[in-house]
Structure formats: C-alpha cells, structure tokens
Symmetry: C2
C-alpha cells in the first residue's frame, strides 16, 4: 500500500523507535456524539505530524469511542513545536469545542524500552 508516512510500522502498528531517551505524547480521548469531520481531521493531523522535525512514529487504536494515540518525538523541543503548529492548534480548538467529550495529553520522557517479535516457525 503506497503511503506518505515514514517507515515506522514493522509489525502493523508497533512503531520502530530508536534507543531511548526520546519523548512520547500520550493522547487519550473520549469522543462526543458529533464526530462529523473527525476522521478527516485525524488523518490530516497524522500526515502533518509525520512531516514535523523530530517525529519518530506513532501508535493508535480506538475502541468504543475511547482512543489512545501515542506519538514519539526526538526531543521536548519537537513536542512543543508540534503543539504550536498553526493547523494543529486549530484542530485542538475544534476538538475541544466539538469532537471530544474529554481528553488528556501527557508528555513523557521514554527512559527504556523492550520488546519482542514472534519468530517464524
């Protein structure tokens, strides 16, 4: 499937981030009833984020209205730059006014990581 996104999904959804330290922005949201235009905005924000300096990857899932999206960034500066991005700010405002019943954003410094990839048998 052709994609404008960087190569960051080695296994359908798990981001291939570098060695820590780096930053994670954990965005958890509970959608309100009016989700008109939401999907398009989310797609667009992902596209914009992936072009930002310092973007390392993202992971996301939504289930029964609750979404957990984690984006990874090379530095805190990169996190702040993305937060201030003009179009992203507009989306944040629309999110508050309309799409999200509730959301929380947590900025966290990833200190260590470990993982596992199933071996082919």
């Amino acid at each position: 499937m052709p994609s404008h996104r960087p190569e960051q999904r080695p296994s359908e959804g798990v981001a291939a981030t570098p060695q820590p330290p780096y930053y994670a922005v954990i965005f958890t949201s509970d959608l309100a009833d009016d989700t008109d235009g939401y999907e398009e905005m989310a797609e667009r924000m992902l596209e914009l984020a992936s072009r930002q300096p310092g973007f390392l990857g993202f992971e996301s899932a939504r289930e029964e209205g609750v979404g957990v999206t984690v984006s990874y960034w090379s530095s805190e500066h990169a996190v702040v730059q993305w937060k201030r991005h003009v179009e992203h700010r507009l989306a944040q405002k629309m999110g508050r006014d309309r799409w999200y019943r509730c959301y929380k954003v947590r900025v966290a410094k990833v200190e260590r990581e470990y993982g596992h990839v199933m071996q082919d048998t």
Copy 2:
C-alpha cells in the same frame, strides 16, 4: 456496575491521574492469529495490576489487532514490582510464545499533562 477497580475513569476511558511526575508504561501489541485465552488473561492482568501498590490507572484500546494500553504508576519502583509479579511474568511468557506477533513496552516518566472536559450545555 460493581467493580473492584479503583475510581479512575471519569469519562469512559480517560484515567484520572494525579499531578505529574509519575510513570507511564506504554504497551503496544500486534496480536497473532491464535488469540485463544487472550481476553481472559488481559482481564486478569488488569485486575491484578489494579491491586498493585502504586497503580494509578490505565487506558486501553484495540483496533484491528493492534492494541495500545497505557498503565500509570506512582514510581519506577512500582513499575518494576509489577513487571516482576509472578503471575504477570507467566502471562508475559505466554504472550511471547503465543499471543503477540510483536510487542513493545516503553517505560516513560510523565513530566506534564493537560486536558479538557466538555461542558454540559
């Protein structure tokens, strides 16, 4: 609905964590084809985690096999204690052997958070 879980879901899925700093464990997984017994294990692990010292809450969603679960902990010590929990260790092994095609665990220190709750109109 009766529950043994602490009060940590003010809005269907967004955890009511305290002021930072605290720790986040970001667990992202891609399920393999054999998911027999997986749901029961996931439920059980959540139940066990919520009884651990230092547990602050969790957020979770799964979509098309990709799951993003973030659990929050009061300290790094609490994170390590949970990782070493005997029954949790067994579940980790079964996960590697059977349920997860791929997973990644990231331990991160939450430095700041902000959020929004929609006002009733």
